[in-house]
Amino acid sequence: MNRLLVTLALVGSAGAVMAAAPPANHRNFVACPIVRDTSTVPCWLAEYEGETYYLTIQTDVSAPVNPPWLGHKVLVEGTISDEPRICGGIVLKPVALSVMQELDGSCNTMLPAEERYNLPFEPPRPPGPSKGRLAFGDPVTQPKSEQLETSKSFELRYEFDSLVMFRHAQPLQQIFEYARQSNATRVQITGYRAASLLSNGQLMQEDKQIGRRRAEQVAELLRGAGLTEAQYEVKWQDEAQRAKGVADAAMRRVQVVVSR
């Protein structure tokens, strides 16, 4: 009950309104993450309405889904898969995780390893040194030279209410390299504000200024990295009302169009 109250309060502060519920096979909720040790890498879980959901495992920086943080709540936006449970949790796949920015000391559950919850597969990355490669390829690899088009579009995706973070280094590098190689004269940047339709029917909206801030930050970062010759067109758009409870995470984005 306490957890529910805390969740509602948090959702309220992020800007929540009631809307239609997402499809039944989707689970979108805010909760404390839980980490469970295993005989290899830990797995990450969260509870919602009395059920445990499996979110992901620990791998490395190249992972498409990164584990959340104890000390913070997490926004989970996932689809229930038909895979067998992992670490005791119903598997959400695909899943998007957003660490909530404010600290929450109540999110501190670490569960010990239990034989019955050991991973049914070998993790892509052990809990120590790798076997010589990143689990999912190099996340910040130098883009290869490619055929240069008149214009090319790129997209950066964001966690809820967040700006650029570690995982944006690679796409920013790709934009930067493409712009340099193509002698770009124009960079159009559009930042989007979005929302997430939660399983309880509430619409959890991002900060009103986040679309603008995202767009302006990307422009500032590209300039700061040395892309100063191009002309920048920076705009932002509010798409908070488009949330349907399915793939809402993909709406939190910045679109960059680089033109010659």
């Binding site: 404010e102 600290l103 010589g132 570690f166 944006h168 920013l172 590098q173």
Partner: protein
């Protein structure tokens, strides 16, 4: 008398020169924060100094050639300094000559006997040899604050007790082009035992607002490794997506691993700043001297070359991760946190030495095996790493079950292979070492303490919240980012036995204290065996 005249002339010229430097910081390729430092360096007094020769000590301008390989005794054996380019003629060399106004040379704080850093044991010895007159005790940064009484050990307590020099940085921070950065946090001085942060002339509220923090000199050797352009060095920082600092001459991104707050992108720009701030050099070093300093630092390698018990570390059959020769021929820009390269490769001969009936050889072999086990503790002993900014926040989750080599992954160095600042808690409370306050302890806190408040509109620090305390804001003093406060670029692991104390603030007096910090910080629970093996391993690097 001459010194007084020089000081007077500098005083007269200070205003004019300061404005000139401020007016053209980028054209002159001086980093944005340096002109402000220059102003303070000119304000600080220059004491009488003398630097007579002494055993193991390199005095500025002494003119002794530096041999291709020089071994020096240390607490675990011998550290070596290898000049890959051969013998170096130091007479007239800008690294060895007192090119500034306070009698110091670069070598003053980067002593070969201390693995090109400076141990507190050496500092204390030098204090006694010169009655505090050696230029390393210069008021500008060898004193807790420049206007304290000279010759009094209390005026130099941080240097004498913890090996710390004062680093003064403008507040608010300056961007590379000299413009002011609007910081994400406010900084309030809540404890100022050195008197410098509240000082009317040198402090935060002076006409030239400065924050004073106190840091150890870093190792000026093995530089190819921490200036690499290999794994993880791109235009955008892999830890936060922000632009990396760039070499002002080439425009290429820097690995940002030279200084503890990554404020200088290249050895050359570092030398420019160090000459102004530490040597009180009047202006910008000329290209020729800068080139010679960079060339010297780029061919210099330092590491432990022999171990009191384990024996030689530079024999042909020594493990490939040990000794100066292996270091010189090693490959830079390589991630070692894997089982194909390893951070410090060991050898089977050390891991499983053959038994011997000779007790001396048996004892040596047991130590070698302990060092090899320590390597395995470093590489494979997992523990929960929690609340470490720029580690837990880069996709591994909080906590993450990993090993020492997760963070210390740079092949042959043990630094972070990518832009290397992290907050492990060495300067941020509650983990930083603080003096226990109670009625029975007469010692007072030595380090300054700052209250950091992340401004409304920016996220709080992910693990410390919106308000927290630090002895040194680290990278935050350069970036102005709330989540960079207390994040420090990690130091290399080579020559550790010759240069205690450890961490940027000298808070670990020995290798045991260093290991104990991690044990406490991450609740590792090392066994005695693991701890001893790890210390032996570190002592052989």
């Amino acid at each position: 008398m001459l010194k007084a005249a020089v000081k007077f002339a500098i005083g007269i010229g200070a205003g004019l020169l300061a404005s000139a430097v401020s007016a053209a910081p980028t054209g002159d390729r001086v980093a944005g924060h340096v002109p402000k430092q220059n102003q303070q360096a000119r304000q600080a007094p220059i004491g009488d100094s003398k630097s007579p020769p002494a055993n193991r000590w390199w005095s500025p301008g002494e003119g002794t050639p530096l041999a291709p390989l020089v071994p020096y005794p240390d607490s675990f054996g011998q550290v070596g300094v290898l000049n890959a380019a051969g013998a170096i003629e130091t007479r007239g060399h800008p690294f060895f000559e007192p090119i500034g106004t306070n009698g110091r040379a670069c070598v003053s704080c980067h002593q070969p006997a201390n693995a090109m850093s400076l141990s507190v044991e050496m500092i204390q010895r030098r204090w006694h040899e010169t009655q505090g007159k050696d230029p390393i005790f210069a008021p500008i940064d060898g004193m807790n604050c420049p206007d304290l009484p000279p010759g009094d050990p209390k005026s130099h307590s941080l240097l004498l007790e913890r090996g710390l020099f004062r680093i003064f940085l403008p507040w608010p921070p300056k961007a590379a082009d000299g413009s002011s950065i609007d910081p994400e946090f406010t900084i309030e001085v809540v404890r100022d035992p050195t008197g410098c942060n509240l000082h009317p002339k040198y402090g935060l509220k002076s006409a030239n607002p400065m924050v004073s923090v106190y840091r150890r000199p870093r190792v000026a050797a093995n530089t190819k490794y921490f200036t690499h352009n290999g794994f993880g060095v791109f235009s955008f920082i892999g830890k936060n997506g922000l632009p990396a600092t760039r070499d002002p001459e080439t425009g290429l991104p820097s690995s940002m691993n030279i200084l503890s707050d990554a404020r200088q992108p290249t050895l050359k720009t570092q030398a420019v700043e160090a000459a102004i701030t530490h040597l009180q050099f009047d202006g910008k070093l000329d290209e020729e001297r800068l080139a010679r300093i960079v060339a010297f630092e780029s061919q210099l390698y330092t590491a432990q070359v022999s171990h009191n018990v384990a024996g030689s570390l530079i024999e042909a059959d020594a493990p490939p991760g040990l000794g100066v020769y292996n270091l010189a021929k090693g490959r830079e820009g390589l991630l070692g946190n894997n089982v194909t390269n390893f951070v410090f490769p060991m050898s089977e001969a050390w891991q499983k030495p053959a038994p011997s009936s000779d007790p001396e050889i048996q004892r040596r072999n047991e130590m070698r095996a302990s060092i090899a086990r320590g390597h395995d503790v470093f590489m494979f002993r997992t523990f929960w790493i929690k609340d470490a900014m720029h580690l837990n926040t880069v996709g591994l989750g909080n906590p993450t079950k990993r090993t020492c080599s997760t963070c210390h992954g740079m092949h042959m160095m043990g630094m972070d292979i990518v832009n290397g600042w992290m907050d492990l808690g060495t300067t941020n409370l509650p983990w930083a070492r603080e003096e226990p306050l109670n009625p029975w302890n007469e010692r007072k806190p030595q380090m300054p303490l700052f209250k950091i408040t992340c401004k409304a509109g920016v996220p709080p620090h992910p693990f410390l919240g919106r308000v927290f305390y630090t002895q040194d804001p680290g990278r935050g003093l350069i970036s102005g980012k709330c989540n960079d406060v207390g994040a420090i670029v990690m130091q290399q692991f080579r020559g550790l036995a010759a240069r205690a104390p450890y961490f940027s603030n000298g808070s670990a007096g020995s290798l045991r204290e260093l290991v104990d910090f991690y044990d406490r910080r991450f609740n590792i629970g090392y066994t005695d065996q693991e701890r001893d093996d790890l210390i032996n391993f570190l002592s052989a690097l």
